[in-house]
Amino acid sequence: MMMYLWAFIVGGIICVAGQLLMDKAKLTPGHTTTILVITGAVLDGLGWYEPLIDFAGAGATVPITSFGNSLVHGAMAEAEQHGIIGVVTGIFEVTSAGISAAIIFSFFAALCFRPKG
């Protein structure tokens, strides 16, 4: 049960960081999420993101920061097997679920819905 509490807290804190970027630094949501993704990638490069996932579970995997993290992860896993080329070929290895789900669902949503204004 501690897991839920920490998922809530850590996830919430990441969102607050995003909110501060939007309100204080006056960034658009696009800029904000982009910065967070890059942050996630860098944190994983430093080896700090994985412990955070162990600690907060979905609190660390659901925010967009984890997208950067898994991109690096995919690249690293492939690089271990195939050397430096793997950095390019493996990037989308882990994240494919998220991206393909988003593409597929969005496409069908475009067929089924119209904007509500």
Binding site: M1, M2, M3, Y4, L5, W6, E50, P51, L52, D54, F55
Partner: protein
């Protein structure tokens, strides 16, 4: 727009959260502890892991050549899960240098090991099935 704004006064949301936490904390009961142990070695392995400080519970199953073990740790210790895994792995290797050690803190591996342990205690499980389930658990541990 109008409707949703009315549904979301902050106070009501706060209330919902308090309620949720209450609900959650009520459910946080104990996990049924395994009482039956198979053999000396299993107990030995489990206590060995539990002696590592932040581990709260552990489960282990021996095979001829392998040792499968999983553990749950205090939540605050999850930030250094990697080093705990390494330590447990080292201790187990020291104890059974001739065996291949599989150790994990994955929840799924832990669950499945417990289940298998229970089944071993109460039912007769064929050798083939044990092997199958253990190799499955090995898969989970990789993750």
């Amino acid at each position: 727009m109008l409707v949703t704004m009315k549904v979301f006064p902050l106070r009501r949301i706060l209330f919902c959260f308090m309620f949720l936490f209450l609900l959650v904390s009520c459910q946080a009961g104990d996990y049924p502890k395994k009482t039956v142990t198979l053999n000396e070695e299993t107990v030995q392995a489990e206590t060995l892991i539990q002696n590592i400080d932040p581990v709260t519970s552990a489960v282990a199953i021996h095979n001829e050549k392998e040792l499968y073990a999983a553990a749950e740790v205090e939540h605050m210790a999850r930030l250094r899960l990697e080093s705990i895994r390494k330590e447990a792995h080292e201790r187990l290797t020291d104890q059974w240098p001739e065996k291949t050690i599989f150790f994990s803190t994955d929840k799924k591996a832990l669950l499945e090991l417990r289940k298998l342990n229970n089944d071993l205690a109460f039912k007769s499980v064929s050798k083939k099935e044990i092997d199958k389930r253990l190799s499955k658990i090995e898969e989970y541990m990789k993750g």
